[in-house]
């Protein structure tokens, strides 16, 4: 919610026992100052949902925090940072496990749609149970994303798979499309679960746990359509004004986002194209092998050699198929997710700019003494806090995002390289064994001739 912001730490910081007011998250959120904790990052993030009750206890500690760099209280070596961001690799720290599977088609008189089964397993206290199973459709995911964006306008919310595929398949319910979407939705929820702030979002919890009727009634709450429209109109008006001066680091960030977006889009296109070319190569190869078998039918001496060649080509086809499936699992979805991420980043940048513009316009109003100065000053004070919160939230999340991106990209491309190495190794083995068998035969024949 774009409510008031307190310069307070995330409620998920969770000093034990002394945590007044708000619930403390599950017992495995460690103390500040400890090295191995994923919660270390959480300390940088400000949860705008914060209950005021926590304020007094934590505010003093919060002031020790230099939001622009890591406090000396915590180890900040890049190595420890890298270790910490791999949430998926540290199952002992995860307390929320989500799977998305079993797409099912539903037909009503008005429409046909697909729902996905979502299973959540958790040990967190605030969840009523340790296991949940619900069904959600794409619209529901969209709702969740919007709620998260509302609540955390300058956090980098994970992207959702697209509503439609523009090129290629138009059919919404094509099997490949559904499977790709399912995997992306699974990623989406897990990324939220791994996010230090978003993981504790109330709407997220409801999304994961509420029964159908409970869920739909909950969705109807919150700012109505008209007020949402009003907000966005204001936002557009503000964005038209443009940002007067972005702080240096955000200029850099924006520059990065622009270039990154361009490059990742190109890489997405290149990767898709490679997949397509490989598919066409495979199709031709599948026709190539059998011709040798056909030929062998009219030959005597050559028949065996020709059949062997055909089987080698066949093996290479299998290797190609494997390489293709490896690409489509490891590389393509990752690259595509970051294409969507880059769009998300631009939106986040815009939202941050809007918040700043709001402040700037009020400041301008004050200096030109257009309205009641006292009121303005108070408003400005609040807005300044808001801007600082927003900026800090973004900065912290940005660093986290950069790290994640680096790891994901590194991992995706390393996998691609491995798939290719494996492919060539398999083909090599096939052809080498053919060669050996042929030269062995040569030697056999030669020795036979000598006899």
């Amino acid at each position: 919610m774009e409510g008031e912001c307190r310069a307070s730490p995330a409620r998920s910081w969770g000093l034990p026992a002394g945590g007044a007011g708000g619930d403390s998250p599950g017992g495995d959120v460690p103390l500040p100052g400890s090295i191995s904790s994923s919660a270390l990052l959480q300390t940088e993030v400000l949860d705008l949902d914060e209950d005021e009750d926590d304020l007094e206890v934590f505010s003093k500690d919060a002031s020790l925090m230099d939001m622009n760099s890591f406090s000396p209280l915590m180890p900040t070596s890049p190595l420890s940072m890298i270790n910490q961001v791999k949430f998926e690799d540290e199952p002992d720290l995860k307390d929320l496990f989500i799977t998305v599977d079993e797409p099912e088609s539903h037909v009503t008189t008005i429409e046909t749609f697909i729902t996905y089964r979502i299973i959540t397993k958790t040990s967190r206290g605030e969840f009523d149970s340790s296991e949940f199973e619900v069904r959600r459709r794409y619209q529901d995911f969209l709702w969740l994303k919007e709620k998260l964006e509302e609540a955390h306008p300058t956090l980098i919310i994970p992207p959702l798979p697209e509503k439609f595929i523009v090129k290629g398949m138009v059919e919404r319910f094509n099997d490949d499309f559904i499977e790709t979407r399912r995997k992306a939705l699974h990623k989406f929820l897990n990324r939220i679960a791994d996010h230090p702030t978003l993981t504790f979002n109330e709407d997220f919890k409801i999304f994961l746990t509420a029964e159908a009727w409970e869920f739909s009634s909950h969705k109807k709450q919150g700012p109505g359509l008209l007020s949402r429209m009003g907000q966005s109109v204001r936002a557009v008006a503000l964005s038209m004004k443009g940002v007067k001066s972005r702080p240096e680091e955000f200029m850099e960030m924006n520059n990065f986002i622009e270039i990154f977006s361009h490059k990742i889009n190109l890489i997405d296109k290149i990767s898709q194209r490679i997949y397509k070319e490989e598919r066409e190569y495979l199709d031709e190869m599948k026709e190539y092998g059998p011709i040798h078998i056909l030929w062998s039918a009219s030959e005597e001496d050559l028949a065996d050699t020709l059949k062997s060649v055909a089987s080698c080509i066949d093996e290479c086809c299998k290797a190609t198929e494997k390489r293709m499936s490896g690409l489509s699992e490891a590389l393509l979805p990752v690259v595509h997710e970051y294409v969507l991420y880059s769009e998300m980043l631009m939106a986040v940048m815009k939202r941050r700019d809007q918040i700043q513009t709001e402040l700037d316009s009020k400041v301008e109003a004050l200096t030109s003494k257009k309205a009641d100065t006292d009121l303005l000053t108070e408003e400005i004070g609040k807005l300044e806090d808001k801007v600082e919160c927003a900026n800090n939230a973004l900065k912290a999340d940005w660093d986290r995002w950069r790290q994640n991106m680096q790891n994901d990209i590194k991992s995706a491309f390393t996998n691609m390289a491995e798939e290719n190495i494996l492919y060539y190794e398999q083909c090599l083995a096939t052809w080498e064994s053919f060669l050996t068998s042929q030269t062995d035969l040569h030697l056999e024949e030669a020795s036979e001739d000598k006899l």
Binding site: I259, R273, L302, E425, T439
Partner: protein, 417 residues
């Protein structure tokens, strides 16, 4: 034309250069053609050193003349084919332009291969015209013309669509014709698909090259990832450009297959020659048989006739006149004329029997010699194609090894990001 003392076994032949030339043709028009330098070296026994003995330029048409001459004078031989004049089975990135240097180069190799095939053929290597082709700079064409081979050429052999109703062809030749049809069809198909595979493979490799450029641009905004991206990009470029050499090598493999594609036609030529000879033989036999029958009819017809005539005489006593009756039956021919005819026929029959005998002999000789060469050809084919398939495997292995190296390097760069 053969020269029994002459042997090309201790001679090395090479087509060492190809040159584009312009000149005026028979109709005094400007034309561009390619000329090839043929160098002949004789190998000295003692030290194995080779000495350049002859060096001359020949254009394509000369090669064609040589081959056509050989086809006429050695119909029982499976005459090695010439390389293609126009680039076919081309995958689309490769130029189909006949003047393209790569094509000209492959043609040069093909022509050299043609001459080497001739030189290693037990019969053809002794041919004088072939020898002159390698050694006689001027007037070679005139020399060939003087052999009158064009006149000797049976135009029926060229008529590809002509079918001859042959009653008793040698079954082996029928099988061979089928085999050559199948060989041609399967190799064509193989070459077509290979070209498509090459095309696709080219696409896969080249698209990777784009990674190189984008990684390089991306690395500019990255601090930690930058170096890894940049160097990985370089490897992607290496990968993308490696396909050019790979496919060029494969083109040589395709050429080896193409030679045997064209050999199929040479096989068919021998079969057709046999068919023609058999046809001529059967026609001659038929002609002989009909002449014999005619003769018999003429001869025996007289005896039967006289019996019959008596009958008529007896029944037609009033109007009987021998002359009149014979005129009714034989037209204006007199017995003398008939006798003359019979004599002529008997001579023709004698001639015909001689001809048939020699044709039969010829036919059997042809079958024997042709089949000997066909057996030789089969062995050559099996050996060569096996080698070609093995060399294909070697090429694939080399391609895989290159791939492993490039991707291993790239993986290292990625892991350092």
């Amino acid at each position: 034309m053969t020269e029994s003392n002459f042997s090309l076994k201790k001679i090395e032949i090479s087509v060492s250069e190809a040159e584009k030339r312009t000149g005026r043709n028979a109709m005094n028009m400007q034309e561009t053609y390619t000329a090839y330098l043929i160098e002949t070296r004789s190998v000295e026994h003692s030290d194995g050193q080779s000495v350049l003995t002859d060096s001359l330029w020949r254009r394509c048409s000369a090669f064609e003349w040589l081959r056509n001459y050989l086809l006429v004078y050695y119909p029982h031989v499976v005459v090695p084919p010439l390389p293609e004049k126009r680039a076919e089975f081309v995958w689309h990135k490769l130029s189909a332009d006949n003047m393209d240097p790569d094509f000209v180069e492959r043609r040069r190799i093909g022509l050299e291969n043609f001459l080497l095939r001739l030189a290693s053929h037990p019969i053809l290597c002794r041919d004088k015209i072939f020898y002159l082709f390698l050694t006689q700079e001027g007037n070679w064409k005139e020399t060939v013309n003087e052999t009158g081979f064009q006149l000797k050429a049976d135009s029926r052999l060229k008529a590809l669509n002509a079918t001859f109703r042959v009653k008793n062809p040698d079954k082996r030749f029928i099988e061979l014709k089928h085999y050559s049809d199948e060989l041609q069809s399967v190799i064509s198909h193989l070459l077509r698909v290979r070209a498509r595979v090459a095309d696709r493979l080219y696409g896969v490799y080249k698209v990777h090259g784009n990674y190189g450029r984008v990684f390089s641009e991306w690395s500019a905004i990255e601090k930690e990832m930058g170096d890894g991206l940049q160097s990985a990009g370089h490897h992607m470029d290496v990968y993308a450009s490696s396909i050019d050499d790979i496919l060029e090598d494969e083109e040589h493999y395709a050429d080896q297959l193409k030679e045997y594609l064209f050999y199929a036609e040479a096989l068919r030529a021998v079969c057709r020659k046999h068919e023609l000879m058999q046809y001529d033989l059967e026609m001659a036999a038929q002609d002989l048989a009909s002449k014999k029958q005619q003769c018999e009819e003429l001869a025996t017809g007289g005896e039967l006739f006289s019996i019959w005539v008596c009958g008529i005489i007896i029944t037609n006593l009033k109007t009987f006149s021998l002359k009149g009756v014979t005129t009714q039956l034989f037209g204006q021919e007199t017995p003398e004329q008939r006798e003359a005819r019979i004599k002529m026929l008997e001579e023709q029959i004698k001639e015909g029997e001689q001809q048939l005998k020699s044709k039969n002999l010829e036919g059997r000789e042809f079958v024997k010699n042709a089949w000997a060469d066909i057996e030789r050809f089969k062995e050559q084919k099996n050996h060569d194609l096996k080698e070609a398939l093995i060399s294909y495997a070697v090429m694939q292995i080399s391609m895989c090894k290159k791939g492993i190296q490039v991707w291993t390097n790239a993986k290292e760069c990625f892991s350092k990001m």
